[in-house]
Symmetry: C2
Subunit: 445 residues, 2 copies
């Protein structure tokens, strides 16, 4: 949220030319630059209202422009740490079958059999900067899907293992850990339009984040929290429903092994049926993360966890609790972890964080005059929390940033402050503070 | 987030004097006023790190300063639409027993019996402006709990019905619907300190919201989404765990009716055991709600749902989807529902919304120059969406606001625009816009 020219002190990625340079410049002058954090800035139009439209999904699934992201145990298929591998319909057909969308959603629910394994698929959206399908209403773009090929069920084991081997033979592999933090993003770039600057190569992180969040949510919630019975994926991966009936032969006493019965069995009642319940929809956990400045705006509070490398600090963070505003959650977390009392709190920018399902809400807060004494004794989560001068933080942003498992740059000297990389919203918050978010009055809103 | 003096055009509630008027004035001059929306501004310190401390909870439960909010089927016990009824330990003792915290959490999990009904209790926090308990570390305040007395199980039915009758005899009752929107709040007031201005009478809405959100979450999630087995409430109502064993005699074949077995039965494995899983913790759904201005800042986009009264409009709103930033969710929702394309989006303020579990993230967005044409044909959720002048909205904020089931004020004339009341964040967003959030450059950050 800062357009301060001092931003240029930090290394900037080469950005593609905006599609409408005049408009870009005009909006920048008027409103400043929006900080688009890593994992945001998706080039896809999700066309969420088409997720129940199975004729559309069938058409999109088999189109020659369609791209498939492949996951095995939530690990994405990559060509390198900076490049996702996009598979084709021919690749996934042996796993998903000819067309999982050939019947309507209503019919599939009626035919529900809890013992049938269906590989999870997600319709991610249309990449409108790429040639692709065109709908009656005029939505255009190349369809993107995600498919879980984990060989976890007998019915797909052979096909999935063959597919995985064929990928390995091609030299592509499933990425362990969080290497995908290296995926290119449109870092720091304002996206004025929904899909104005779409560029698949520079937005891989956002597409990956959507796929990972949804595959994880589906895998984590095979049962209904309201009644305990197995649930069924609908709405192209964006909803799980608790069907009223089940063709599973396991439920029919005396018919085990006798194949699928002619009629489904009624399942016990469930409070999520016939109503709109949040249990049916993907979960996203709001998380607050905040740069705290001293009352005079000249120092920044940072904390560190015991497991981090020596000299590494970051902003404080924590989950928002039920019935808190963001501003209250920021004050509570900071007081619990550091004893610092905050007055004014301003939301700076936000970041999707698909590990597994977080929304990072970045804020900047100012300590009250008598609230600056550090006390780690409330909720002892941190090994240390202390105040740093703006100059110390500015220098560390210049020479001391890196991923957690990496070394800082060549100019960093042993003993100097280390900070998270630019892909972390913590870094963006600190950058805004040292560049004048508070002292130049940007915070006065 | 606006300190614009034009705020005074709207009726302002009488606010209590701030505890530190000099500081208040100083911070206001420097940072402006924070919009504290209805349901926020809790006077309670949640002391979240004490939720597993059963000796503390036992002490708090039976203290003479302790207050209990009573709910029946999620309806709160009230004396009037503007006053919660606070019950005592003596009232709830027949339902909850002498001390549900007499054993450690670890022991209670070991003794778990899925057929035992335990009325849901929530420890809400300490009201630090009121005399109460004092902990070793020095936390002070009057404890607040919520208790669900719904007579839904044989084991408490008689006691619960007797308690409900005793309340009715006293003239207090369980509030239907959302009458509690009439509860007093510290509307529009900045809370500089965690608990600086605590005032139980003016913060009832925030205390109620915390209780309702947590009771609802517990009631809605009796089963584990990971394995389908019943779960058990721990952490004073803020966590549900999936115990590894169960003393339920229902699980022992041949022992039905034989009472509780000597040893518990092992339950099937569950992916949430031995790890930290979000399934164990309360869910809060991030929701975006936004005032959209035209590119020149002179008009405001409002929409209406079919079921609303004639002439009633509001800001657009919708759920944030997985792996979206708030800014992206705002642009997507506005485009889906109205066809309008937004450029710059700024977060304004946030509001807890306990129906059942929402966090309303209020934003202000600006249309792009060629993105101002309304199109209701993407996701046809709205009956209408159209542009209004700032003057129309300003006048409606003055004369046309009310709750959905109420009539607007005496100055409203038939056919005039109607808008939500000040307790709705929609109203606060519109108020900020007509008071210069965009045109006076407040948005330029």
């Amino acid at each position: 949220m800062t357009s301060n020219s001092e931003d240029k002190r930090l290394p900037q990625p080469e950005l593609p030319e905006p599609a409408h340079p005049d408009l870009d410049s005009m909006l920048s002058r008027k409103f400043g630059k929006e900080v688009a954090n890593y994992f945001s800035g998706s080039p896809l139009n999700r066309v969420s209202f088409l997720r129940q439209d199975h004729p559309f999904l069938s058409h999109a699934l088999t189109h020659h422009t369609t791209t498939f992201l492949i996951f095995n145990k939530l690990e994405p298929l990559v060509e390198s740490p900076t490049k996702l591998h996009y598979a084709t319909y021919a690749d996934v057909k042996p796993i998903i079958g000819d067309d999982p969308y050939s019947k309507s959603e209503e019919d599939l629910v009626k035919e529900y059999n809890s013992t049938t394994y269906i590989p999870q698929m997600i319709f991610l959206g249309l990449h409108e900067d790429k040639d692709g399908v065109t709908t009656k209403k005029g939505y255009k773009g190349a369809p993107f899907f995600a498919v879980d090929v984990t060989p976890k069920h007998e019915s797909i084991k052979e096909a999935a293992e063959a597919l995985i081997k064929s990928f390995e033979d091609k030299g592509v592999h499933f990425s362990k850990g969080r290497l995908h933090m290296a995926l290119p993003a449109e870092e720091g770039e304002l996206r004025h339009f929904l899909f104005q600057y779409g560029n698949s190569d520079s937005s891989a992180a956002a597409i990956y984040a959507e796929a990972r969040h949804l595959l994880d949510w589906n895998a984590r919630n095979p049962f209904c929290g309201g009644c305990g019975q197995p649930t069924f994926s609908v709405n192209a991966g964006f909803k799980r429903t608790c069907p009223p009936t089940d063709f599973s032969q396991l439920l029919a006493s005396g018919t085990q092994g006798a194949g699928v019965p002619e009629k489904p069995f009624d399942r016990p009642s469930c409070p999520t049926r016939g109503v709109i319940s949040n249990l049916q929809f993907p979960r996203t956990d709001p998380t607050v993360i905040m740069a705290c400045v001293s009352h005079d705006g000249q120092r920044i509070l940072l904390g560190r966890q015991r497991r981090w490398p020596a000299h590494w600090y970051s902003t404080l963070a924590g989950f928002l609790e039920p019935a808190e505003s963001v501003e209250e959650a920021v004050r509570r977390e900071v007081w619990e972890e550091s004893g610092i009392k905050l007055g004014r709190v301003v939301v700076h920018s936000t970041q999707p964080w698909p590990y597994p399902a977080n929304l990072m809400i970045g804020a900047i807060g100012q300590a009250t005059p008598d609230g600056e004494v550090v006390d780690l004794g409330n909720d002892p989560e941190l090994e240390d929390a202390k105040w740093f001068s703006l100059d110390e933080v500015r220098e560390a942003l210049r020479v001391g940033t890196s991923g957690l498992g990496e070394r800082p740059g060549p100019e960093w000297r042993e003993g100097g402050l280390r900070l998270p990389p630019r892909t972390a919203i913590a870094n963006q918050l600190l950058t805004s503070v040292v560049n004048g978010f508070v002292s130049a009055g940007v915070m006065k809103i």
